[in-house]
Symmetry: C2
Subunit: 152 residues, 2 copies
């Protein structure tokens, strides 16, 4: 059973989502499956690229953020899925060996305009590396069920 | 060597990126690693959810789109990476067995304001299922090197 419902969130709430270490093996294998550009998949080619070495696919960083979000917060919520992302920025390269930390801030908690049983959390997710540099931001929306929806 | 450079693109160019079949095995394994919500990872829980059955993580759909984009287009380009996504919409559930088709449309080809050796392609990517229903859209940017940059 979920612990957290739409009513439990308000603008300004901030959640630390913990950390994830990016291994060279998984950076390479993710990119080989989903984003086989040389600066993601080939050490030698990456070394001579503008990035100066292997970098993780931005979609890998998104997926890792999602895991942290589900483990630390969304998995405890009455989640009904997401309509999408309003802005996603890859600000700095993520490299093998980086330890990423994510933070989730509620920007707005809006009752759904048509469905009385749910609301939308609008959020800013920030992902930092071990040096405290901001590597990715995601402004997204999540649909969350209400604990006590009004009677139909 | 890349075949395609910034100069080769203009607003209105459309590219068919081909198809990818979403297998139940990979839908489950991707979600178990990156998005372990019950409607992505647990057949029984998914059946009683608002989705009525297993659906793919939206990030899995993004990753699959990226693979089609790299295989059919970006992998032939002088790609310098991406600053991010301006809008991402998950419009309909993607289910195991779905065969996704992607299309990439150039919305604008803009010389970089500061770096004379590259430009930005702004694009709309659309992902359809086997019934022709639009399941995801991504408005993103990609940095592409120029074939003939002006002398410094």
């Amino acid at each position: 059973m979920p612990e957290l419902y739409f009513e439990d969130f308000k603008a300004g709430d901030v959640f630390d989502l913990g950390t994830h270490a990016m291994t060279r093996e998984r950076v390479l294998s993710f990119a080989r499956e989903f984003d086989p550009q040389p600066f993601h998949t080939d050490e030698a080619a990456a070394a001579t690229s503008i990035y100066g070495g292997l970098i993780a696919s931005g979609w890998h960083t998104c997926a890792v953020f999602m895991r942290l979000f589900v483990d630390r917060l969304l998995g405890r919520c009455a989640s009904l899925g997401s309509p999408g992302v309003d802005e996603l920025r890859w600000l700095k390269p993520v490299r093998p060996g980086d330890v990423l930390r994510a933070r989730y801030t509620v920007l707005a908690a809006e009752p759904h305009p048509r469905r009385a049983d749910r609301g939308t959390l609008r959020s800013l997710a920030e992902v930092f590396n071990q040096d405290g540099a901001l590597v990715m931001t995601v402004r997204a929306a999540n649909l969350i069920a209400k604990r006590n929806p009004p009677a139909a």
